[in-house]
């Protein structure tokens, strides 16, 4: 909390900075600014949480309730059966399993490939390694949609349309470069002495990668794992282009289909939306510590 002192700064609460005379420093006082700040944060957080509240309340209502009373009223009947309905009509088990399989296979493989490549670029600095890095990263920042049409025809000619493999290959291609970028920073920061002493002990390049560099990057890997899991679980554009049969659908496709086909079944629709986000919520809550600490400290260092 190194920056805590500055952050009692009124600039955080709006534009009236100049108008508020700063209290003399170094004198004990009640932190009115802090209290005001807390209250405005609480109000903002409340506003931010409202959509969740509305969604939950609607998810346990009958259509009659939805049509006759405002959203924030409690349901007259708690219609928990909406959840069961949504699971059944939305094929949640099938699509959920598809998403899970794709994420569980794709995410670790992607991280391994990214770590290997980042290691090569950061530690085995060959000629043009910078250029290779730049090209990799540049591509990853271009909007995916640019290549969707041709991606479709590519998968078609490889006979991988509408398969999980056909989905995972572009997922890897689009996910790995960003991870290389993040891990590159971590590997660069490892002191050369560490590697040199290992080398003097006769360690091979692979051992240095596997036993020295990878363990050091653990926090970054954990954070990237979450980010990538969430991104993979949520990906829509590529999946919508490449997957045709409902047996292969991932969760976002089911959400869109549900909200299109059953737009007027308000309760089940909202129940479905809530359930579709449960896995990413769990992952986020379990790993949020790593997430804030690990993921981005690499990204924002100077």
């Amino acid at each position: 909390m190194s920056g805590a002192t500055i952050l009692a700064n009124p600039s955080a609460s709006g534009g009236q900075v100049a108008a508020v005379p700063a209290p003399p420093a170094n004198r004990p006082r009640r932190d009115y600014v802090g209290i005001g700040l807390w209250i405005s944060l609480a109000i903002s957080a409340l506003i931010w949480a409202l959509p969740f509240v509305f969604m939950f309340l609607t998810s346990v209502k009958t259509n009659a309730d939805v049509n006759t009373a405002p959203t924030w009223h409690l349901p007259s009947v708690w219609q928990w059966v909406n959840y069961a309905d949504a699971v059944e009509t939305g094929d949640l088990w099938v699509t959920g399993a598809n998403s899970l399989v794709v994420a569980i296979i794709k995410v670790p493989i992607g991280l391994l490939l990214a770590a290997a490549a980042a290691y090569a670029l950061a530690r085995l600095r060959f000629r043009f390694s910078k250029l290779v890095l730049a090209v990799l990263v540049a591509g990853s920042m271009v909007p995916i949609q640019v290549g969707l049409g041709p991606l479709f025809t590519t998968m078609l000619s490889l006979d991988l349309l509408d398969t999980k493999l056909g989905l995972m290959l572009p997922y890897l291609a689009f996910g790995v470069p960003y991870q290389i970028f993040m891990l590159y920073g971590f590997f660069r920061a490892i002191p050369d002495e560490l590697e040199e002493s290992a080398r003097l002990d006769g360690a091979s390049t692979f051992r240095i990668f596997w036993q020295i560099c990878l363990p050091l990057a653990k926090p970054a890997l954990a954070a990237l794992f979450i980010l990538d899991f969430v991104a993979t679980w949520n990906e829509y554009a590529i999946a919508a282009t490449l997957l045709q049969s409902q047996d292969n659908w991932t969760v976002p496709l089911a959400v869109l289909s549900f909200s299109g086909q059953r737009a007027t079944e308000y309760g089940p629709l909202n129940a479905f939306i809530i359930m579709s986000a449960v896995p990413v919520l769990i992952v986020y809550l379990l790993f949020q510590r790593y997430f804030v600490a690990g993921a981005f400290s690499g990204a924002v260092k100077g």
Partner: protein, 412 residues
């Protein structure tokens, strides 16, 4: 070394997943359709379970999508092996014809011969099957669209008779609006819903011959009768549509009709069962033809097509023969349309609304198609954009025809 390990890992794991894809078992027929609910769902379930019972070992897997998702999915798989064995689609040139042209549909001339289907269906029904050369698709319904209205609300507004001219129709809407009732309900996010009104206005103002020339772009859209139609459309949008129609989809718009919050809906024969499924009393509902002043009824055919890439065309044909057979059609007629495509099957009973249709069919000299089935894809996209621009005030109605014609010319 690492690369080898990783690559082997990738290929090994991923290949394992690749195998799980595809259209299921050897004897599974995959059928793509629109979302089915209520009576239609039951009817389809009946057809499928009867077929499975009669054909040991063959299973039928129905996959449902919303209207636009269904179109997108089929356009994507056209010319690939990823499609279903059978797909349900609209028969008009802009939709069904497009997929025929793309090579998605199998020519069924041999099957028509084998099963004698040409005798099963009426001449008008078959015209949409034979228009692309050979036989494409097996007709499933011949749908007509007309104005459904709520009798109670009409009475409340003091409307005593069904409108028979366009002037009376607009006057009825004005009376409803004056009585504080939403005259007609549309869902604007699906462009083809509001389009029904525009198409009918063009048929009304331009007449049947010009309508046909317009949709084949043989004559220019920059013409007074088109401008008049857009002007009327704008009036309807401003005065008579449900509030916020641009922000809701068709299902939400229909809801207003079910709940008695809107007096009219421009729907088709499929709506008979939907109104009842949604709790309306059919005795309180009437249906009248959109008063175009022409002889034609608004409507289209829908059929089942066999995918040219299907590796089970025999099973697929057997299924289509089964679902259009007299015996099966007798069981399900009415769920999709009151009048079966199978000429031996009598008009459906059971829903009083079904009886309202045969007089309309009999009085009609033919059908004019919904324009998304007439125009090409990019024209349809532009037609909808122009239509919505007029409705939202972004384009003057008098300029709409010229705007559309400019697009037609530049993309000719």
């Amino acid at each position: 070394m690492l690369a080898a390990v990783a690559a082997a890992g990738v290929i090994g794991t991923l290949a394992a997943c690749g195998g799980s894809a595809g259209g299921g078992g050897d004897d599974e027929l995959t059928v793509w359709m629109l979302t089915l609910e209520g009576a239609q769902k039951e009817a389809m379930d009946t057809l499928v379970s009867d077929f499975e019972a009669a054909n040991e070992g063959v299973t039928v897997n129905i996959e449902e999508r919303s209207t636009d998702a269904h179109k997108d999915a089929l356009r994507q798989v056209a010319g690939t092996d990823a499609g279903p064995d059978i797909y349900w689609y609209w028969e008009g040139p802009g939709l069904g014809g497009e997929l025929v042209e793309a090579g998605l549909s199998k020519d069924l001339t041999a099957e028509y011969e084998q099963y004698g289907w040409a005798d099963r269906f009426g001449e008008a029904t078959l015209s949409n099957i034979t228009r692309y050369g050979g036989y494409h698709g097996v007709p499933f319904t011949q749908q007509a669209e007309a104005i459904y209205y709520n009798k109670e609300l009409f009475a409340q507004a003091g409307i005593t008779a069904e409108p028979t001219t366009y002037e009376e129709f607009e006057a009825a809407a004005a009376k409803l609006a004056a009585a504080g009732i939403t005259p007609i309900t549309f869902g604007g996010t699906v462009n083809w819903h509001v389009m029904r009104l525009l198409d009918s206005l063009i048929e009304t103002n331009c007449g049947s011959d010009t309508f046909d020339q317009l949709v084949t772009t043989e004559t220019s859209w920059d013409t007074p009768c088109v401008d008049e139609s857009f002007t009327q459309l704008k009036t309807w949008g401003d005065e008579y549509f449900n509030d916020g129609f641009q922000g809701v989809a068709d299902a939400e718009a229909q809801q207003l009709f079910y709940t008695g919050d809107a007096a009219m809906a421009y729907e088709g024969t499929w709506f008979d069962s939907l109104t009842v499924d949604n709790g309306m009393d059919p005795a309180n509902i009437g249906v009248f033809k959109f008063p175009t002043g022409t002889e034609r009824l608004y409507g289209f055919g829908e059929g089942f097509y066999i995918n040219a890439a299907s590796d089970k065309p025999e099973d697929a044909a057997k299924f289509l023969d089964f679902v259009t057979s007299t015996e099966e059609q007798n069981k399900v007629v009415g769920a999709f349309s009151p009048i079966s495509v199978n000429t031996e099957v009598p008009t459906a009973t059971g829903n009083p609304l079904h009886e309202l249709w045969p007089p309309l069919y009999d009085a009609a000299s033919g059908f004019y198609l919904n324009n998304d089935q007439n125009l090409t894809l990019d024209q349809t996209t532009e037609y909808w954009r122009v239509m919505n621009s007029v409705l939202t005030g972004g384009l003057a109605p008098a300029d709409a025809g010229a705007e559309f014609q400019a697009f037609v010319d530049s993309n000719a």
